[in-house]
């Protein structure tokens, strides 16, 4: 009885995954990420690599949430660090001052994140284009000044808020197990967030988001309350941005003013252009490439290469790293402006089209075809 359920479930799962090539690819990527810690454990016992990968997972949530707001709705935001910082500060303040566990502090921080998103969304829906970018940029800078120089009893100024080790996510585990647990937790949250964001983006509400990106006047002429949908986009984006902030706060066990800095806001922009704007999966791919380049290549292999060339790494590395990375981004933006993730998905779509003409485009159009006949 139970066995038949399991086999039936398994076979329908296999049918679901093998139905569309891109779905199979996503499944393979997930499998790779699930198996990665095992590979790393054999390679080195150092928790460093796991920490890097966990950081990449969290950054991927952050970048994907930015993509929904900017790539889908067209609300150019240069201040996404606001949600990052609000998430980290709220969860850590609640954890240290009131001794609350993560499963209480994080939902509370998410609620606050959505409120903040709606609050900044109100002025932001009234401005457009470059002005919107400037307005969004100011909010994290205001927060930076506030947490750094006012209410020292709550924000602890420059030092930020430190979370004691015993209040971390998995304090009872050994360091390597703790890192592994953190990695799998962040991967699970990334997977769920990405699925939710992708489903929202390809739903009928997502269609309205794209219509606002394309032509706001035309959306209004279609009877769409543009302000309402923009606020919705801000709220969803803020929710997942705050989630990334909470996780980062718990991971590095510190919430400090630099979390509100402009550099934090720029990371999702860079990785989204890298991976492919408006795709949701693009920023996730972009984040992994960015994290690999940033941490493994520049911190480990690049200095070694320089050493063989007879150059002292410590003197030039700081500049060269930025230069090389900027060059890579520049080349990608010029050569493949649609992002590196779309290089693969476009190929897959061509394959699917060659196999069956009905299978192009998101599932929503296909669903019409099957239902309509």
């Amino acid at each position: 009885m139970i066995k038949s359920y399991i086999t039936r479930g398994f076979s329908s799962f296999v049918a679901y995954v093998f139905d569309v090539p891109s779905r199979l690819l996503a499944f393979l990527c997930l499998l790779l990420l699930l198996l990665l810690p095992l590979v790393i454990k054999g390679y080195t016992a150092h928790p460093y690599y796991l920490r890097i990968l966990t950081g990449a997972n969290i950054l991927a949530i952050f970048a994907a949430s930015w993509d929904l707001l900017v790539g889908r709705t067209g609300q150019i935001s240069l201040g996404h660090a606001l949600f990052y910082g609000v998430g980290a500060y709220t969860s850590l303040i609640l954890a240290t001052r009131y001794n609350l566990p993560p499963w209480v502090t994080i939902p509370f921080a998410l609620l606050l994140g959505v409120l903040v998103a709606l609050l900044i969304g109100l002025p932001c829906t009234r401005v457009k284009g470059p002005y919107l970018a400037l307005v969004t940029m100011t909010f994290p800078l205001i927060m930076y000044t506030i947490v750094r120089s006012s209410l020292p009893k709550i924000f602890h100024g420059e030092l930020g808020i430190r979370l004691p080790f015993k209040k971390a996510l998995f304090p009872f585990l050994h360091i390597i197990q703790q890192r592994t647990a953190e990695y799998y937790l962040s991967l699970a949250i990334l997977f769920i967030s990405a699925v939710i964001l992708y489903k929202v983006a390809s739903s009928k509400t997502g269609i309205v988001f794209i219509s606002i990106l394309d032509d706001e006047v035309s959306s209004k002429a279609c009877g769409i309350n543009v302000t309402k949908y923009k606020l919705l986009s801000f709220a969803i984006s803020g929710l997942f941005g705050t989630l990334a902030g909470c996780l980062q706060g718990y991971l590095i066990r510190i919430a400090s003013p630099p979390m509100f800095l402009l550099t934090v806001s720029f990371i999702p922009i860079v990785v989204t252009y890298f991976g492919g704007m408006g795709t949701i999966y693009g920023p996730i791919v972009g984040t992994y490439v960015y994290a690999m380049l940033d941490n493994f290549f520049f911190d480990v292999y690049f200095p070694q290469l320089l050493k063989w060339g007879g150059i002292e790494a410590s003197t030039v590395l700081g500049y060269l790293e930025l230069l090389v990375f900027s060059l890579i981004v520049l080349i990608i933006v010029l050569k493949w402006p649609r992002g590196i993730a779309r290089l693969v998905t476009d190929k897959l779509e061509d394959l699917a089209e060659a196999r069956d003409l009905d299978e192009r485009g998101p599932r929503i159009w296909k669903r019409y075809k099957t239902k309509g006949q």
Partner: protein, 245 residues
């Protein structure tokens, strides 16, 4: 009963008076054409009725309700849909999704019938204007004539009581013009209570559709009447030919 009443509408852009003290009404099921030379204020009048531009003075009354100060999307949800002179499709979206945006509005949702999905409804609307073939094509790949018809389908998606078409035949070839004329006439038979206002330069196509014509010149209403009266009106001929004849 008057569906739409426009009372003394005036709009000034700096020193230029684009629309000057224009009043008219539209009855239920009536098809009204607005004509006039370039710069006569036709599009400004349209924008004021649909709420995209707020008038300096005057009132727009729809079904006995003052809608002058309402935002554009609320006016659409009251039952006035419009198209644009220059096509404004959602270029990233497939043609069918363009229509689905309008179906997602409160009025569009309300009109979706039991057991009829949004996709099915959108496909039916596209079939009415003859775009079924291009349904899944992204709007950026679709030609200008087809986009004009897409605009009409999108406006019809909210099931308006008053449909306002801003130069629906602009840039269409004779065959496309013929097709759109026919589908508008057919729509009038299907929905006899729906009123239509058309702004158009192609008078030949327009005169076949409308019951009444309003002529604007330099922001003022200079004539109003049946199509056959208007083409004989001396003042109108003078305006259109520059007073040579």
């Amino acid at each position: 009963m008057h569906v739409l009443e426009v009372e003394n509408l005036t709009k000034r852009f700096g020193g230029l008076t684009a629309v000057n003290n224009v009043s008219f009404f539209v009855d239920e099921g009536e098809r009204v054409g607005i004509i006039g030379p370039n710069g006569a204020g036709k599009t400004t009048l349209f924008n004021m009725i649909s709420g995209f531009i707020k008038p300096d003075s005057g009132k727009v009354i729809f079904r006995g309700e003052d809608i002058t100060k309402l935002p554009p999307y609320e006016i659409v949800n009251k039952g006035i849909a419009r198209t644009f002179q220059v096509v404004r499709p959602f270029r990233h979206l497939p043609v069918i999704a363009n229509v689905m945006v309008a179906l997602k509005s409160p009025r569009g949702c309300r009109k979706i019938e039991w057991l009829k999905t949004m996709e099915r409804k959108a496909a039916d609307l596209l079939e009415d204007v003859g775009l079924s073939e291009l349904m899944l094509e992204p709007a950026e790949n679709v030609g200008h004539g087809d986009l004009k018809r897409l605009e009409v389908a999108r406006a019809l998606a909210t099931e308006p009581d008053l449909l306002m078409l801003d130069e629906p035949f602009g840039g269409l070839n004779p065959i496309e013009t013929e097709f759109l004329t026919k589908s508008l006439l057919r729509m009038h038979l299907d929905e006899p209570t729906r009123s239509i206002i058309i702004v158009e330069h192609k008078l030949y196509a327009l005169m076949k559709i409308v019951d009444r014509v309003i002529v604007l010149h330099q922001g003022e209403k200079i004539a109003e009447g049946k199509p056959e009266e208007i083409v004989k009106n001396k003042k109108v001929i003078e305006v259109y030919t520059g007073g040579v004849i």
